[in-house]
Symmetry: C2
Subunit: 106 residues, 2 copies
DNA sequence: AGAATACGTGACCTAAAGGTCACATATCAA
DNA sequence: TTGATATGTGACCTTTAGGTCACGTATTCT
């Protein structure tokens, strides 16, 4: 989970996730072209960090590498760490649970 | 929001938040004593980052500084950024909203 | 085969992060 | 006022992060 937090710390990496969210399965070059202010190598280094955190999953296809967004680690961070602090989030889940299980309308 | 992400990136800082979550309103020295492997100065630097991100709110009281945890920025990150990626989180909020607004039980 | 394309690696540089220390300041207590 | 306590500051050091580049490898196309 440490790797996830560290990966999300950089704005460029969050922007990469945003880009993949908008269009999943891009190649490295396609992605790099959207970051004109940075070379392909810079983007690749960020991708390495994102892959390390399992936020981006690479699929080799011939000479290209397709990049897929993996939201699972983000969900885990939300559920295992953030929910502890985000009272509204927690109470939302509690309320939802009560709603579902009928605990509230006893 | 950038400051929040960056602040959460370091494990020591997350541990500080955990400590304040367990016991809010500690002084700097009290807090520092729990981090035996680091000097007070190291802890203070981390505190500066947390305060910068508004995750820790300092209240000067005489010669001591009381540290309070502020979960609001974490909630904002959850709502404005993470919810986009965490499908279960999002659907939970949607369900809750339906529950509150009565959209569901029409 | 040869050329173009797509990605990978290692060296390298600069700036920033993490951490310690000596020292300064403010406050309380006697 | 003197001494102890609590925190703040700036200099300093070491490691890491972010970024570029020259070059190498694999793959596709003709």
């Amino acid at each position: 989970m440490d790797a996830v937090f560290r990966a999300l710390a950089d704005p460029t990496r969050r922007e990469i996730l945003d880009t993949l969210f908008a269009a999943d399965g891009q190649t490295v070059t396609q992605l790099a072209e959207r970051f004109g202010e940075m070379t392909r190598f810079g983007v690749m280094k960020h991708l390495a960090v994102l892959e390390e955190a399992d936020l981006v999953i690479p699929v080799r296809q011939g000479r290209t590498k397709l990049l897929y967004l993996n939201p699972v680690p983000i969900e885990q961070v939300a559920n295992r760490w953030i929910s502890k602090y985000a009272a509204r989030f927690t109470s939302s889940l509690v309320a939802l649970d009560q709603h579902i299980t009928g605990t509230e309308e006893a």
